[in-house]
Symmetry: D2
Amino acid sequence: MNYQAILNEIYEELQPELMRGRVADYIPALAEVEKGQFAMTVTLDDGQVFSVGESSKQFSIQSISKVFTFTLALDIYSRELYKRVGVEPSGNPFNSLVQLEYENGIPRNPFINAGAITITDTLISHYKDEYKTLEVIMHFVRQISGNPKLSFDSAVAKSEMEHGDRNLALARLMKSFGNFENDVINTVMTYFKHCAITMNTEELSRSMLFLAFGGRDPISKKQFITPSQAKRINAVMLTCGHYDASGEFAFHVGLPAKSGVGGGIAAIVPGKMSIAVWSPALNKYGNSHAGTLALEKFTTKTGLSIF
Amino acid sequence: MNYQAILNEIYEELQPELMRGRVADYIPALAEVEKGQFAMTVTLDDGQVFSVGESSKQFSIQSISKVFTFTLALDIYSRELYKRVGVEPSGNPFNSLVQLEYENGIPRNPFINAGAITITDTLISHYKDEYKTLEVIMHFVRQISGNPKLSFDSAVAKSEMEHGDRNLALARLMKSFGNFENDVINTVMTYFKHCAITMNTEELSRSMLFLAFGGRDPISKKQFITPSQAKRINAVMLTCGHYDASGEFAFHVGLPAKSGVGGGIAAIVPGKMSIAVWSPALNKYGNSHAGTLALEKFTTKTGLSIF
Amino acid sequence: MNYQAILNEIYEELQPELMRGRVADYIPALAEVEKGQFAMTVTLDDGQVFSVGESSKQFSIQSISKVFTFTLALDIYSRELYKRVGVEPSGNPFNSLVQLEYENGIPRNPFINAGAITITDTLISHYKDEYKTLEVIMHFVRQISGNPKLSFDSAVAKSEMEHGDRNLALARLMKSFGNFENDVINTVMTYFKHCAITMNTEELSRSMLFLAFGGRDPISKKQFITPSQAKRINAVMLTCGHYDASGEFAFHVGLPAKSGVGGGIAAIVPGKMSIAVWSPALNKYGNSHAGTLALEKFTTKTGLSIF
Amino acid sequence: MNYQAILNEIYEELQPELMRGRVADYIPALAEVEKGQFAMTVTLDDGQVFSVGESSKQFSIQSISKVFTFTLALDIYSRELYKRVGVEPSGNPFNSLVQLEYENGIPRNPFINAGAITITDTLISHYKDEYKTLEVIMHFVRQISGNPKLSFDSAVAKSEMEHGDRNLALARLMKSFGNFENDVINTVMTYFKHCAITMNTEELSRSMLFLAFGGRDPISKKQFITPSQAKRINAVMLTCGHYDASGEFAFHVGLPAKSGVGGGIAAIVPGKMSIAVWSPALNKYGNSHAGTLALEKFTTKTGLSIF
């Protein structure tokens, strides 16, 4: 299939959509990103890369980082992890305290904020220290992305912390239920740091490739996790990857994927490829408006879908 | 692959599990079904059928019928249907009124009770009459199952109605929000009738085959719905098919599937096959205990999974 | 104290407020009542009556009737009644199903719709029959009001029933929890009938007098309930009498009182008097806008308050 | 009336109840208080004091301190205070985050934890500093109690803080909604300090006297707040003073009162007297078991009630 032609077509068709939606504006660092930008990259197992738009422009991956920390925690804790976080869709806006309270401080899944903060907490417990933890996370994303220089944007992380009261409330609530082990402030800060990792679509697409191929990066030949773990992470991306629009996304796109408020979405086609798309203006669910449409067009045009 | 051998293996391995869990006991007709029974059938596109256990014993398909009514309604209304019912996982026990009230009488998806009752209501609006509607539903399940004599168990339907106050409350609540068009009692009665359809695993497996093959039954060569509609139904089965354990099911089994409180589960492997399993004792989420394990074993042993 | 002068003063001061707020418009029969009307009556134990405004104009007492049915049920069932309905403020809009579901079908108090329907259900269980029950209710309100010809407006009751889906849903939900004994439709219809009783402020004020005097009407000398029961009804009026603005009302007015969406409010000053006020335009909580202000002015000017 | 005789009678009748219920055990300092203790004091406007039991034994007043901080804040901010905290009963367990989230961070009333923390926050904003604020609070309670040496138990406050995650979560959540002005940790610590004030029933009874007499202590002749403010505080005690059993308390006792998990309850009879009772074992709502019964007996025996 001529993926480059398909990407070009999508890019052209989406021009009228690029200015629609709103850039995340709860922190200044994200609010100042210009609308109208777009990039999309497809990476195949043989190393072929197809891109369109501003595919070398860095953006804040935000919640997409939750896939990487979940991967690390699953590798360390295996089934034990599910004592502290579930794998069910939340059925509520992504940062609600209500469900967390009704369910005794056990977050529904690793991709809602409470769950991702719990995952960070489990990593800090394992590595004893939040600096070591952040180092391990950065080492991992540098490996899977193929870019040894990847880093996170401290200004974004700091700004998130300044507006981080709701996430701190979530962490405190989990602590009150006994589902929190480390210092609340340090843990949430570490969470904001890994959310502030910046990538471009080429790096992000490459980073997801191991999940499309049973936990093994087909280019570097490194096996990061077991095939069974990779399948399970993909299942959670499908059912929980897009906040309260996960069902819609599965319905319209039909691929395991994870979005972030920075406007990025990373998706995989099992056994075939990984895809990253970026466009900063968000729809009402907090997912990239043009990014979601681009993936829907991609699966329609290619017939690729897991269903 | 030797599917018969795999089914035999699963059947043997599951012996110690068959008595675990509880048979649905909210109505006498279901409560008297004996624990310990098990059947499983795989149907391939070339008509090959592999079965194990009591595969010709009839059971009440209950909520699995929601897949068939959703199929009919989607075919009639297409996108218009989503004005009346969503496609998001519910994140709450399957018959809760709470979410329905907060979301103004629009059920989250067609597989929770409120959503399935709405679907029945849309069918009655289209066919003008509840008897005609039931006839159309029965005609359709007879076609897809290949059994022209399939029927529903009136005693079960009547018994459900006698204990149907919660479902009537759901319907009334939707009516109070303006999301209900026909007589409440008649519509809920029609819903209970299609839930009371009885099948064996061979018929149920065959009934799902069109969903595994883009809406076209590969045996009868009939195209019931478009490939795109089939994919979407599969997506909703994956994200919403197992009440509040849909995430768990996707995580452990990794196939689009729908369960019923009669102990049946119907699943598909896109492009490959359909599977039906039945064992009446349920786990705490209301899904067949041994049935869920059987499907997990099946995907582990065969390596089949959509992820 | 010169009550007539005080009422005249209040009437004059409230002129600018009479057109503010909205008349209840969920049923046509209530929607067509003209804004701007006002009446207020004070009744003392020696039979003195002071009125201002349209005090002989009939209006629909609506939820105020819940005080009278609660009185009858408390007299019949005494402490047993609390197995079926509580006495706690609801902290939620007056007809919410959410709380009812979380609390297993036991309504929080007899003045929210669910609670009042339960009370009607207990009366029908006692009197065996809904017609007999309605007769008993009408006989009671005729006695306490001193008007043997009081009746209810069938057109209003019928219209309520046509828009009664939410109340029917509440009744069904209670039935699903086992907290409902009679036919849902007949019981809710009986409830709507007693809500449709019409009175003027003179009759309504007189009707409440027995609650201000330990359960004994000081004019007719009839003892309807025990002093202890009267105190308890007054306590429930204070904590639950004004939907989700009961705290505000206690705070600003400081008297046990009950409001209805027809624009009436009935209040008592223990040991001193009863008061009725009517003005059809409602504030955002569903209580008479001018009526609430009139009572606030009355307690400020007279210094009467239970606190 | 012979109050001493009535107190003696109550004390005797309650002997079989004193060991029933559970002492608050979420912090060690409260958990080690011995069950079976009881004290009750009535204070009249002429300075007469009637006591029974261990009326000079100090206990932790806990939530009763919320009455005193609300008094101070109402005096400073008047109507402006209601922008930050409501006066409605909560209808939910006393420390639930759910309602706070649905109502955008505005606590329902000053007596639930969130509301009392907000009140402390408003005081710190006014006095600029948490030490000054605590000084003002202590000065006030020393004045109204007539004991210039009253203090708080630092060990209790520290222990509360160590188990204070839920209260910190409440504060963080309010901050995320913009309804919090000072440092979260310092404010919650100040809140725990005033909750840790220790009094005996004689001091506590005396402290409430000004609320029974229009804001003026009839013994010291000091006017602390206006009569109208006193009435409003009494109204909030009646509707919200006993967590989720406020309706029950109004129903059975019929007096404005406030309870604390230390086992104390302070009540007033407007224009007549103040009453304090203490018995550390709590009922299922978190209110003193024997204390509640003692007040119910007191109003039954004396006929005193506001209704």
